[in-house]
Amino acid sequence: MSHHVVSWKVYLGVFLALVALTVITVWVAGHDFGEFNLVVALGVAITKATLVVLYFMHARYSERLTHVVIASSLVFFAILVFLLLTDYVSRPWPLSPVAS
């Protein structure tokens, strides 16, 4: 099992990146980019989460099994959302909760 010690400079760098990304997402939210607002919001959040997982949580330096565990949970979460949406998205537009 690796006893790899990550340098504190990496942590500081990740922290600064997270702060910067937070500023970006707030700035974008203050302007109207239409659908793109959501894309940026999610994209930034995913990037921030990835940085936390890889560096703060040491996933970058962990065994492959750790990656499999993380990936599995995300895959099954995606299955939940995706298959849920097959119902809601195939309802008549404009969307309402009750299928016709």
């Binding site: 099992m1 707030v26 607002n37 993380i70 939940l80 969307l95």
Partner: protein, 236 residues
């Protein structure tokens, strides 16, 4: 067999539990256990995020109206606080790995402090929305879903008045569950800080610090998604 011989010296390490063959095995198992626990937490919050996805898709305007009512500045501040607490937590783990016990205690206490700031702010945010609902009277500005919910304060009526209650149901459920995880984390962090202060951890053995760090970072990640999804819908 060779592994057993190589780790023979560890047989008397006070932290080694009897059913494990070596500290390495114990550490690998504990770490995997925490990751599996986090995987389950992802699905736990995932149910809420799934419901959120459905309802935001159905009621984008009501969600937007509800979101505009939240203070993005407070959310922004709290996000920075929590990211900061993740930094101090990571520094705590780092300090344990290089054997600086005092620094471990300091960084964990800083983490708890920042967590406390976050929760204090949340208490204030919740209070604003819940206080108008209490007692008798007109309940103007009450934002707790239910009979006393004041949709007029959001300039909504009709069907939208109902839809925005779903937004606030999700707001309270998601941030409430998140806050609960922080409240549960605090005494655990305190316990680890205490053990660190008593000199229990070393570069050779500091797994509990690592594990509590994993938990705390996960709680931070949940907020990383909650902030834009609840506070930054649409544009201002």
């Amino acid at each position: 067999m060779a592994e057993l011989a190589a780790h023979a010296g560890e047989a008397h390490h006070p932290a080694l539990q009897h059913h494990f063959v070596s500290l390495d095995q114990q550490r690998a198992a504990s770490t995997l256990g925490m990751w599996v626990f986090i995987a389950q937490e992802i699905l736990f919050f995932g149910g809420l995020f799934g419901a959120y996805t459905v309802y935001r898709t159905l009621y984008p305007d009501a969600f937007s109206a509800g979101s505009h009512h939240l203070s993005w500045k407070i959310g922004f501040f709290n996000t920075l606080v929590l990211i900061g607490s993740s930094l101090t937590m990571a520094m705590g783990v780092y300090s344990a790995a290089i054997g600086k016990s005092k620094a471990v205690v300091g960084f964990i206490l800083a983490t708890i402090l920042l967590g406390g700031v976050f929760l204090g702010v949340k208490y204030f945010e919740y209070g604003e929305k819940i206080r108008p609902c209490l007692g008798d009277g007109p309940h103007t500005g009450c934002l707790v879903p239910g009979a006393r919910f004041d949709a007029a304060s959001l300039h909504l009526s009709g069907a939208e008045a109902g839809h925005v209650q779903i937004y606030f149901s999700l707001y309270f459920a998601m941030t409430g569950l998140h806050a609960l995880h922080m409240i549960i984390g605090a005494p655990i962090l305190l316990t680890i800080a205490y053990f660190a202060w008593r000199g229990r951890y070393s570069p050779e053995y500091h797994t509990p610090v690592e594990l509590v760090g994993l938990y705390w970072h996960f709680v931070d990640i949940v907020w990383i998604f909650l902030f834009p999804l609840l506070y930054l819908i649409g544009h201002h």
